[in-house]
Subunit: 339 residues, 2 copies
């Protein structure tokens, strides 16, 4: 599908907006070759493995049409780094494939600024990519290093393990509700929760710190309990989760108990880490929390599987297990093929 | 941007259509972990580097709306493997991010069949990915192994080097012209050239064979001469190309000389390898050509740079250098941001 040239072409775009990202790679012994060839080259550290993750963000689905491009650039990388963090990997570099309707210079300037700022902040240079015309779509593949055998998989949760979550959850869902005018929020509260929605913080240091502590981990992108289900499924265990122990921000706590529980339990876009660890690691986890200045909250425990399909048993504030029907509305995870 | 579940969800899609790709990884010592976690894990061979390439394919731009999904699956992987081939890398694995308007079961079955057939054929398992709703867009990131320091970069072309190209070029462009009803073709001829368009063959064995022979290489996706310009720019050299030495298929040779030259020189989608090598490698290249049963054709030579911007000097059939104006129409490369 060929066509003649236009004023600003694909190669100019990469040179002009994204190639600055390789300046970091030129002094980076892990990246012998960055942008500009058929492939980039990565050198793996001795006795380590490379973790790889891919996320695709589509306008109108993962971000609003007209979203602030600088914030979008930051977030696009952050959500991938969050996956690296959940494995305990240290960022090495990333590739970007981007389709956009036309080469919008102002948009590209802001987007690449956000993206490359984030890349610098987390020491994860842009090493290659592809640009094309098309509906606005971003696809990032991030690579990270991890000592051999130290990756924190979803399949490692053991019966009696504690279930933990970092930070607090539900704020991004609250921001979405406010932006959709479903829930009124004060300007200040909206600002707080919007920041959580637009500027998630990949928990990289936490992931690294958990390498020798956690038995399983994953990042919460589609809702705490829905995502926890992936750990349960792969580990073939159930979990008890104490609903009122799920950490919520002061802003979310201003909402009704129902909204609080629903958003914290199943709101997406939080990018915190949910992990399991043996009881004897509690002290180590408290120390890690303190050293990272990041709350880590015990929210439940792993129990033997009750049925064929692993599940979360929600414990309400009086210590009773909620019925399947009660739980169901909290357990709905975000699904990209829902209408 | 959350929404409730629907009959076939994201996780089902991966399980059902793409996870079979990991069966290969389960016996693959290079891939300790495939689909189903936050990240996949790759183990690099000792003393080697990992080559990474990303391509994004958008419906209506890189493939026709309604394109055969099985062929599309094959091609989507092949074009990425072609980039690995151009570096001299051996495929390790790939990730797929796919946006599609709805979960179309028949389409997914055919697409994943083509994709995974191709993955098996080239020993390059699917190790991770992302699926989402959105306009049909595919983004593949492929990874390959290459012995340390052996990658064939675009920047290595030296004055006096020969310029070579594999196979023949221009057929995919001829197919496009026929499908657009710009040029009439017999059903048999169309079948021949369409095959080149829809089923490109990544020249992996060639790339591996060229590791100790070529000084520079790249794959021809946007047109021979336009792509060659990237080698010239990065190597800071010019090239003389003998127009009538560019290899063309018997089908293309039935067209007018103008069409032949234009399509062979600047038609895209060929996925052959253009490379440079010192004169003393001619015998080695002939041997490699024979052992791979793949024509390798000497089409020009590298000369000192004449102006600030490296360029191709086209030599016509009477040995004269073509004027800039004559050359220009042949040198137009495909640009994804042209209208």
């Amino acid at each position: 599908m060929h066509s003649p040239s236009n004023p600003i072409g694909e190669f100019d775009l990469i040179e002009r907006f994204f190639k600055t990202g390789t300046s970091a790679t030129e002094q980076n012994e892990n990246i012998p070759l960055g942008i500009g060839d058929d492939c980039a080259l990565i050198k793996q550290a001795t006795d380590s493995e490379i973790a790889i993750t891919t996320d695709m963000l589509v306008e109108g689905r993962h971000f609003f049409a007209g979203a602030d491009p600088e914030q979008l650039g930051r977030k696009a990388l952050a959500v991938n780094l969050s996956d690296l963090a959940a494995m305990g990997a240290e960022p090495l570099g990333f590739t970007l494939a981007i389709a956009m309707p036309k080469a919008d210079i102002a948009w590209l300037e802001a987007f690449s600024k956000g993206l490359l700022d984030s890349a610098n902040l987390y020491g994860c240079p842009l090493i290659g990519g592809d640009t094309t015309a098309g509906p606005l779509t971003l696809s990032i593949t991030a690579l990270g290093n991890i000592p051999q055998g130290k990756a924190i998989r979803r399949s490692g949760a053991k019966i009696e393990d504690d279930v933990w979550v970092s930070g607090n959850v539900g704020d991004a869902r609250l921001a979405l509700a406010a932006l959709r005018h479903e829930i009124p929020l004060s300007a200040e509260d909206l600002k707080q929760v919007e920041k959580r929605m637009h500027q998630p913080t990949p928990r990289i240091e936490l992931g690294i710190g958990l390498r020798d502590i956690a038995t399983a981990a994953l990042d919460i992108s589609d809702g705490l309990l829905g995502d926890l289900n992936h750990v349960l499924k792969q580990s073939q265990v159930d979990a008890q989760i104490f609903l009122n122990q799920i950490p919520k921000s002061e802003t979310l706590k201003k909402q009704s108990t129902d909204i609080q529980n629903q958003f914290a339990a199943s709101g997406g876009d939080d990018y915190e880490i949910c992990f399991t660890a043996p009881n004897h690691q509690r002290e180590a986890i408290k120390k890690l929390s303190k050293s990272l200045d990041l709350p880590l909250t015990l929210i439940g425990r792993i129990i033997p599987i009750k049925n064929k399909n692993p599940q979360v048993h929600l414990i309400n504030s009086d210590g009773a297990t909620m019925s399947a029907i009660e739980s169901k509305k909290l357990l709905q995870s975000f699904d990209h093929f829902s209408s």
